[in-house]
Each structure stands twice: as structure tokens, then as C-alpha cells.
């Protein structure tokens, strides 16, 4: 608990110390990445159901607010709960049939449905087709959430992250939370203990989808723009997965740690390598994911635990 409060203080103070727009930008991107990855973590990390198409929820959350603005000049925030509802519906459509089959079907389905939506959105004029949608260029009032600087976004995102992490922390201590972990640890055994596996997985997916949708909404409101690639592109899904997996899938702070490491790193490689940098970044991401899978699926959290245990054992033996 003390560590958590210290961390919170650091995050609260960050913009006051690094008030430069460049650093503030990284901070905002970091928080957003941590929110998305933590949301993915609920179903992918805790329940062990690996979604590689989570961008479908992110995109839904990103498109709906801008849609409401584009067609009806409503403040984008109105679209946020609608985005959540659409994401919940998607979660049910994807999860219900696949959660009674082996895990691979779910993963394949997430990637296929995400691609399906991306292609459809790209051809549908109502949602902007390939061009995409834009948000308010100038704020008509505070409710448009269109701010000039990044600072307000920073604190809004931080608030959402704190709420999300608190929700996950609370879930960890409930029957639902234990059941999630049991499913990941051994589905067959979990079933034999009375765990309602299919239903639990579905709830996890729905919860994850809702928060991912909110992350998407935050992104769209901040950026003021969305298109099929930035909403429903596979790289959106990849980033969520790698950040959570690197820090430690299935742990509370894993995604945040992953974000703290990868977002500045990503900014660095993009700056060093310029335009071609993004290609190199994803080669790196691919490599990191393979290494995590091969050597430490539990991510840095697990690595830390293993090293700490070895040190403790050596100290006890001495």
C-alpha cells in the first residue's frame, strides 16, 4: 500500500516537474497505454484468455464519441457509454461461442472479428470510411473536453488508471477474482471444483471490453481524430498485449510497469530512426514477445520474483 501511494505521488507530481510538452506527451501516452493494457490484462492476464484483437473494443470506444460529435454535434463524452455498450455486445458475440471451445478458437476469433470490423468501417461512409472522423476543433465548453494543452488529459487519464487499478485490486480479492486465476491455472481442475468456467470467462471479457472501450474513448477525445487504422489496426492490439506481458500478465502492476518501460522506449526508437523507425519498433516488439513467450511468460514480475527468491534462499542458507 505504501508503495502504491508513493507511486501515485510520483505520477501526480510528474507534470509539475516535467512540464515540457515533449515529456508531458510521453506521460499521457504512457498513462493511456497503461489503461489499455490493464484492461486487456483482466481477460488476457488474469483469466488467461489471450485476445489478440482487443482493438475491436478500443476502436468502438474511440469511434462512438466522435460519431456523436460528427453527426449530431454532441459533446464526444456522450458517446463514451454507448461505446461501452457496443463493446459489451461485441464481447458477448465473440465470447459466447468460443468460450465453450478450446482457447485457440477464442484467440483466432478475436483477430478475425477485429479485422472484419476494420474492413467494414473502412468502407462505411457513415463512420467516415477510410478518412475517419474528427472531434471538435475548438472547445465549445469544458464538456467538449477539447483542451489546448496536454495537462488536463494527463490528470483525467491518471484518474481513470487509478480507478481501473483499484477495481482490479478489488476483484483480486473476490470469488470472481479467484475463479479467474483458477481458470488460467487449470481449467479442467477449476471445472471440477464448481467454477462456472464459461460464464466467468465471459464476464471477464465483458469487463475488459468495457475498460478498453473507455481507453479508446479517451484516446479519441484527446487526439480529436480516429480512422480505421488507429482504431482497429492490429498494432493497437499488439501494444496492449506486449505492455501487459512484458510487465507481467496477470499481475496488478505488470501493465503499468510495461508501459513505463515501453512507451519511452518506443518514443526513443521513433526519434532515433525517424520515419522508418516504426517498422523497426515492431520488429523489436515481435522479438520481445517471442522472448517473453519462450523464456519468461510471467514477464518482468515473474523474473523479479524468481531472482528475489534465489537471493532470499542464498541469504537463508548462509
Amino acid at each position: 500500500m505504501k508503495a502504491a501511494i508513493a507511486l501515485l505521488v510520483v505520477f501526480l507530481a510528474y507534470p509539475l516537474i516535467f512540464s515540457n510538452a515533449f515529456y508531458l506527451d510521453i506521460g499521457v501516452a504512457l498513462l493511456l497505454a497503461a489503461i489499455s493494457a490493464s484492461a486487456w490484462n483482466i481477460v488476457g492476464g488474469y483469466a488467461g484468455q489471450v485476445s489478440v484483437g482487443h482493438c475491436m473494443f478500443f476502436g468502438a470506444g474511440a469511434y462512438l464519441p466522435l460519431l456523436f460529435f460528427h453527426h449530431w454535434q454532441l459533446p464526444p463524452i456522450v458517446g463514451v457509454p454507448v461505446g461501452v455498450l457496443v463493446s459489451l455486445a461485441l464481447a458477448v458475440v465473440v465470447g459466447m461461442p468460443t468460450f465453450r471451445l478450446t482457447g485457440h478458437y477464442f484467440s483466432m476469433a478475436t483477430i478475425a472479428v477485429a479485422e472484419l470490423i476494420r474492413l467494414l468501417v473502412g468502407t462505411w461512409d457513415f463512420v467516415g470510411a477510410a478518412i475517419g472522423l474528427q472531434g471538435p476543433a475548438v472547445a465549445r465548453g469544458w464538456w467538449d473536453l477539447t483542451f489546448r494543452g496536454e495537462l488536463p488529459y494527463y490528470y483525467i487519464f491518471l484518474t481513470v488508471l487509478v480507478i481501473l487499478l483499484f477495481v482490479i485490486w478489488a476483484i483480486e480479492r473476490t470469488r470472481f477474482g479467484y475463479y479467474l486465476r483458477a481458470i488460467k491455472a487449470g481449467e479442467r481442475a477449476a471445472r471440477s471444483l464448481g467454477v462456472p468456467v464459461r460464464r466467468t470467462k465471459l464476464y471477464a471479457l465483458m469487463l475488459s471490453a468495457a475498460f478498453t472501450s473507455i481507453a479508446g474513448s479517451l484516446y479519441a477525445i484527446k487526439t480529436g481524430f480516429i480512422d480505421p487504422e488507429s482504431g482497429f489496426g492490429i498494432l493497437v492490439s499488439v501494444q496492449m498485449v506486449i505492455i501487459a506481458a512484458l510487465g507481467g500478465a496477470g499481475t496488478l502492476y505488470g501493465p503499468l510497469v510495461g508501459a513505463i518501460i515501453l512507451i519511452p522506449l518506443q518514443t526513443a526508437t521513433n526519434t532515433w530512426f525517424g520515419g522508418g523507425g516504426s517498422g523497426l519498433t515492431y520488429i523489436l516488439y515481435g522479438g520481445i514477445i517471442v522472448l517473453i513467450a519462450r523464456f519468461e511468460p510471467g514477464g518482468l514480475h515473474e523474473l523479479w520474483y524468481r531472482i528475489a527468491t534465489k537471493i532470499r534462499r542464498r541469504r537463508d542458507a548462509a
Partner: protein
């Protein structure tokens, strides 16, 4: 007549889908493992073809063999270096392993070859044939027929040779296979080699008639998922029929609704399959 042409074209492409999907379903049946990088194996086959033509001036036979051999080796290397170590681990590791590999291969290809769409210079297989009033590009016909022959050959290899029955034995009952003296590890490595080689040749065959870029791996990978699901878990014959069906559906969708819909309808079909018949044509319920 035009419709018939579309149908023939769809079936020929479908044969290529059948070829690369057979390998995917073989691995799935043997190891309960889905290779998320399978589409990238196809993509690499296409680039091998390009390199052979550009550097060595080789023809289809040459680059066909090159793709087969190169990808066969890659398949075994991937199995030995990565897959073997994650199959007994958590699902997260299993899925991330080939998913990460797919990204690695795809973006390395982007980096080396750039995102430009490329195609092979005209080979000896130029021109169009007129068969009973249907116009078929020679290249497509040769590619499709070759793919069909190779797919059937793979099926026959599995069902009528000693090596093939060893592979099937591991797929059927790993434990029993071990008791019979078969080494599952060796057989699985072989399966990966064969699957990758199949994907590689399929890519080389497609390169003859279609342009591509590194991003095709993603599309082919998804297509392979649909084909193996429609075909049924672990069923190579199922993948054969399913490949043809999907090729046909794609061609008809593009014809009636427009090119962008060829993938949309296939993915929608996938979703429908998962809801209503996940075991596909020949899988067990």
C-alpha cells in the same frame, strides 16, 4: 460465362489455400497448437520466389523448390528453437510465441522489402488459355493445379506411407505412439517442416500470378484459420475441401459485391462457423 470464369479462378486460388492450410491443420491436430505465423510463412515463400528470380534468374520450378526447401528448414528451426519449449507451458506463452514470430517476420519483411507492392516479372507462364470458352491465365491454372496435386500428395503421404502414418499416430494418440517407439518430438519437427514447406510453395505459386507486399501474411493467416476451422480440427481432407470452398466464396463475393468484400465475407463466415458449427465439415463435435 463470366461467372464460370470467376468460379474457376476461385477454385484455383482455393487449391492454393488448401495447400497451405493443410499444414496448419496437421500441426493443430498433432500438437493442439495454432501457428499464428503461418500466413507469414506463405509471405516468405513469395519473397523467396522474388529473390530467386531477381538474383538467380530462376524459373518457377527453381523458386518452387527454393521456397519449399528454405521454408522446410525454417519450420524445423522454429519448432526446435521456440515451439518445442512452449507447448507444455501456459496458453499465453503458446499463443504469444507464434504471434510474436508473425510480427517479427512481417516487420522484418517490411524493413527489408519496404511496404511496396511487388510482383514477379513475366515468367514463362504468361498468357491466357482458353478452355471450353473459359479464359484462364496460364499462371493461375498452373499454380492452382500444382497446388491441388501437392495437397493431394500430402494427404497420400500421410495416409499411405510409413512416415506419414507415424505422423498421424502422434496426432491420434501421442502416448500410444510413444509406446510403439515413435518419437513425437521428431515427428512434430517433421510436421512443422512440412507445414512450412507447404506454406512456402503455396506462396511461391501465388507469387506467379498475384502481386503482394509484406502485409499479405496477415490476410493469409486469417484465411488459413477460416479454412482449418471449416475443414475441421486436424483434418487434412477437410482442409482440402474447405480451401476450395473458401476460394470459391471469395471469388463470388468479389464478383458480386466488390473486391473489399472478399475478406469481409470470409471473416463473417468464420464468426458464423464458431456460432453454429465450430467442428466444421470433418471435425469431431
Amino acid at each position: 460465362m463470366l461467372l464460370l470464369q470467376v468460379i474457376v479462378g476461385g477454385l484455383l486460388l482455393g487449391a492454393i489455400y488448401a495447400l497451405f492450410s493443410s499444414g496448419l491443420t496437421l500441426i493443430w491436430g498433432m500438437m493442439n497448437f495454432i501457428n499464428f505465423a503461418h500466413g507469414e510463412f506463405v509471405m516468405l515463400g513469395m519473397y523467396v520466389a522474388l529473390l530467386v528470380v531477381v538474383w538467380l534468374g530462376g524459373g518457377p520450378a527453381t523458386f518452387g523448390f527454393a521456397a519449399a526447401f528454405g521454408l522446410f528448414v525454417l519450420g524445423i528451426v522454429v519448432y526446435a528453437g521456440l515451439i518445442r519449449h512452449v507447448t507444455r507451458g501456459p496458453m499465453l506463452a503458446q499463443i504469444l510465441s507464434t504471434f510474436g514470430l508473425a510480427l517479427l517476420l512481417r516487420y522484418t519483411a517490411f524493413w527489408i522489402f519496404s511496404a511496396n507492392v511487388v510482383s514477379l516479372p513475366q515468367t514463362s507462364l504468361g498468357g491466357t488459355l482458353n478452355i471450353a470458352g473459359i479464359l484462364v491465365p496460364t499462371a493461375q491454372l498452373v499454380a492452382g493445379v500444382t497446388a491441388a496435386v501437392l495437397t493431394v500428395a500430402m494427404h497420400l503421404f500421410l495416409t499411405h506411407t510409413t512416415m506419414g502414418s507415424k505422423l498421424l499416430a502422434v496426432a491420434e494418440d501421442r502416448h500410444a505412439a510413444m509406446l510403439m517407439g515413435i518419437r513425437p518430438d521428431r515427428m512434430q519437427a517433421l510436421a512443422w517442416g512440412l507445414a512450412a514447406a507447404g506454406a512456402g510453395i503455396a506462396g511461391a505459386l501465388m507469387a506467379i500470378s498475384y502481386p503482394w507486399s509484406p502485409s499479405v501474411g496477415e490476410t493469409f493467416g486469417l484465411t488459413a484459420f477460416v479454412v482449418v476451422t471449416l475443414g475441421g480440427f486436424g483434418s487434412v481432407p477437410g482442409a482440402m475441401y474447405a480451401g476450395l470452398i473458401i476460394g470459391l466464396i471469395q471469388a463470388l463475393s468479389a464478383f458480386y459485391f466488390g473486391p473489399i468484400y472478399k475478406d469481409i465475407i470470409v471473416y463473417a463466415l468464420f464468426a458464423a462457423l464458431l456460432w453454429f458449427r465450430p467442428q466444421g465439415l470433418m471435425g469431431k463435435a
